[in-house]
Amino acid sequence: MKRFIRRWVFLAFIPVTLIGLNKLEGSERFEVDAMFSSDVATLGRTTKYRISIKKTDPSSSLRLESPSKVEVPQRSSFTIGRFQTSDQYSSSESDQAVGILLEYELVPKVVGRLIVPAFQLDYMGDTLWVPAVAVEVRSPDFDMESEELRWMYIELGLDQKNLRLGERVKTEINLYVFDGLKNVNYTKPQAIGSDFSLDNIVPGPTERWVTEGLFRYRRYSWPLTITPIRKGKISISFKVTVDFRIPNDRLGFIRASRNEGANSALAIERLLEDSSEESLTLFTDNISIEVNPLTDGEQPIDFYNAIGNFKISADLETRRLEVGNPTNLTLTISGAGNHGSYRAPELDFGSRWRVFNPQEEFENKDYLSFLGETVYRYVVIPLSAEIEKFPEISYSYFSLDDDEFIQEVIEPIPLEILGDSITADNDLETEILAPARVVTEETDLKDLLAWTIGAKQRLNAPFFERAWFYLVNVLGLAVFGMLLFFRLRVLRIRKVPELALRLKSKAWLKKYLKLAEKASKTEDSEQFYESVFLAFCSLISNYDSNVEAISVFEVKKRVRVLELNENIKRVISSYLDQYEAHRFSGKRPDDPPLKNEYSRLNSIVRQIEGALRKEAA
């Protein structure tokens, strides 16, 4: 049994030994290696698969041959394309190649890890063993999220974790853009959120090249100042939008960018011929900061919101003053801090001095209003000849170095005052020593209490939001509209005589119809028929002639041509006959029930009016 096992083990070792010997023999003359041009390939895009055959002894006189074609094992995960060879030299002066490079164009067809397996290669009578090699294949969309390369990013250089409310902080935003990207345009950094204010930022960034890992970047830096405006935990972040041009072959672009030299520039130029415009909005990381109030207790009364590290000085234009003549007091606040956010001290030196509001000038020493000098120029007028010193001035600021309020005191300045007082000099000492009078304490507040109830008032909505305002004006407009209407009517009557005549005849018609109604009620047939005749006259005169000048004949003639029912024409004619009979023969007209006749008259009048209107139309 043991002999049987030994024999088979021996037989199994024969091929292994033969391969090993073969390899050992090959390794004597050549070293073989396989590699990809990069560790990462893009799906569907050509990458380079290389086999390097090098002489084991570079000094040997062995001349290397370029094979016409080497068969690489085919796999479904990739396709092999063009093949080319190139010689490798140890130095530029060497005339004999130390190696040969076999290069294939390979196109990956699947995403993931692509392996070109190991295979045997017959070369110059030797059998060489080409090792397996792998490459990571990524989808084309992967480029911008690549972990290895960030095309661009921004950073906010803020190290502090604790700030004071209102403290101005100087910091910097850096935009890194991968070198080689073209047409790079960027916006100014914009603050996100309302926990802090962006006070000042330089108009344009400084630019320099930096290397981050394997890649070179252009770095754009914006120094700026920010101020937290809310206490508690706040977050600070900024954004910048960048437009740029990038080649579509991004991996090729990265490779070309990493190979320095003229060839690289040319390759980039060539790649940029097939490129696209992109736009990215970049955000800095959210930086969390704890913001504390300046103090938990009371702030000094002469604190005017100055936070930083300052020096305060004051000077008078002259020490020899005349009562009533103005002079300049210059108060200077210089140093680093929240320039522009603090106020001028409110100076009130009592009745011995008149102080005007100051003029303010600021000298910016770092373009960020962080380092600088604020000069307040007060005009002061002495009002008393008893003044011996210019009063003391105090100004407190919150020192960030000391983390407490620091009070700077300007000592009283000795003065020589000429002239006579123009104010009463009561309580001299107290006035001289009294600081600027501001209401500061509860007791002062209590002094302000009102002891009378005052006039009764009410806070209402604005007048134009109240109904009465619109009601009154609408009523007024209605009255105004009526006034305008009558005025227009008068003007029209003046302009059109026919209209005046028509209105007059209408008035007559109304008058005669009323008389007819009255007569019908009193059964006065004489009056009734006369009124009827005159009413007809008024109707006829409506459009042409004067009512007084119309005869019965004319009325009949006019009625005849009107488009009226024959019965109505007959009734009209009978009315007119009755009138004529009475008028010319003294015969008393018929005495039918006149109330009925009056209602018939009304109907006839309406029909005549209709006919006349129709005719006029």
């Binding site: 959120g193 309302s194 926990d195 405006i229 809310r230 508690g232 009371e298 702030q299 501001v438 209401v439 500061t440 509860e442 002062d444 507040l445 209590k446 302000l448 209490l449 009102a450 002891w451 009378t452 109830i453 005052g454 006039a455 009764k456 008032q457 009410r458 806070l459 209402n460 909505a461 604005p462 007048f463 134009f464 939001e465 305002f469 004006n473 007024g476 105004f480 006034l483 305008l484 005025r487 227009l488 003007l491």
Partner: protein, 245 residues
């Protein structure tokens, strides 16, 4: 009969006079009591008394005292609100200005910054702007439209019409300012949380101290949409915002 009527009338007159005097005296007295309580440090009692007075007698002085009482009682929001009301009723009240200045300075409360339109509206009393608006409007209609166009084309009518029109335009602009200003109010809550959406679970993105000025933009349910002096907009609970008017 006449005597009885006269007696009844006399009794009514006496009651009326007595009623008038009895109404007025308690207000004066209450104000003094409230002030005394305030001086003695009994702020709550003083506030209650002043509120009672306010129900019968709305005046700049009462709002002023109420503002001070609220401040001393630690209610900065209500203090600023009443002092603003006092100033609104009497813009010349220097004491209210002084008290407001002190409170804002001590409590680091932002002062309202009025726009150009608002400043125009505030430059004259509202009643005067009303008068100018009416004079401008009716002057233009009467002189320009009626007299000049429909009665007689006299240059004096035309000049009056032009003048009225200019007054009308100015008063209209001022009215816009008054309208803008009427939206102003004060955040009165202790923790005035500005929310992104008007719901109890809405994300709080900012917090303002009591007394901060703000403008009311709209109301939805229990929330007001406001804009603060820093141009930050958000929703606060209705009870945390009070209009000055």
């Amino acid at each position: 009969m006449i005597r009885i009527r006269l007696l009844i009338l006399g009794a009514l007159l006496v009651f009326w006079v007595a009623g008038c005097s009895s109404n007025k005296t308690p207000i004066d007295v209450k104000l003094r009591i409230a002030n005394k309580e305030l001086l003695d440090g009994e702020y709550e009692a003083s506030i209650n008394n002043l509120k009672e007075v306010l129900q019968n007698w709305d005046s700049a002085e009462i709002h002023h005292n109420l503002g001070i009482a609220h401040y001393l009682n630690g209610e900065n929001g209500m203090a600023v609100l009443h002092l603003e009301k006092s100033l609104k009723l009497d813009s010349t009240a220097s004491r209210a200005k002084e008290a407001l200045g002190l409170i804002r300075r001590k409590e680091a409360i932002t002062s309202p910054e009025y726009s150009l339109l608002e400043r125009l509206g505030r430059s004259l009393p509202e009643e005067l702007w009303l008068a100018l608006l009416l004079v401008g409007f009716w002057g233009f209609l009467v002189f320009g439209v009626y007299l000049y166009l429909f009665v007689q084309r006299r240059s004096v009518y035309r000049d009056f019409a032009i003048g009225s029109f200019l007054v009308l335009i100015l008063a209209t602009i001022a009215c816009f300012g008054i309208s803008e200003e009427s939206k102003r109010g004060v955040l009165t809550g202790d923790e005035n949380q500005l929310k992104v959406i008007p719901t109890p679970g809405g994300e709080v993105f900012m917090e303002f101290a009591a007394g901060e000025p703000a403008k009311l933009l709209k109301i939805s349910g229990d929330y007001c949409f406001i804009q603060t002096e820093k141009s930050v907009r958000g929703w606060v609970l209705k009870e945390q915002f009070a209009s000055i008017r």
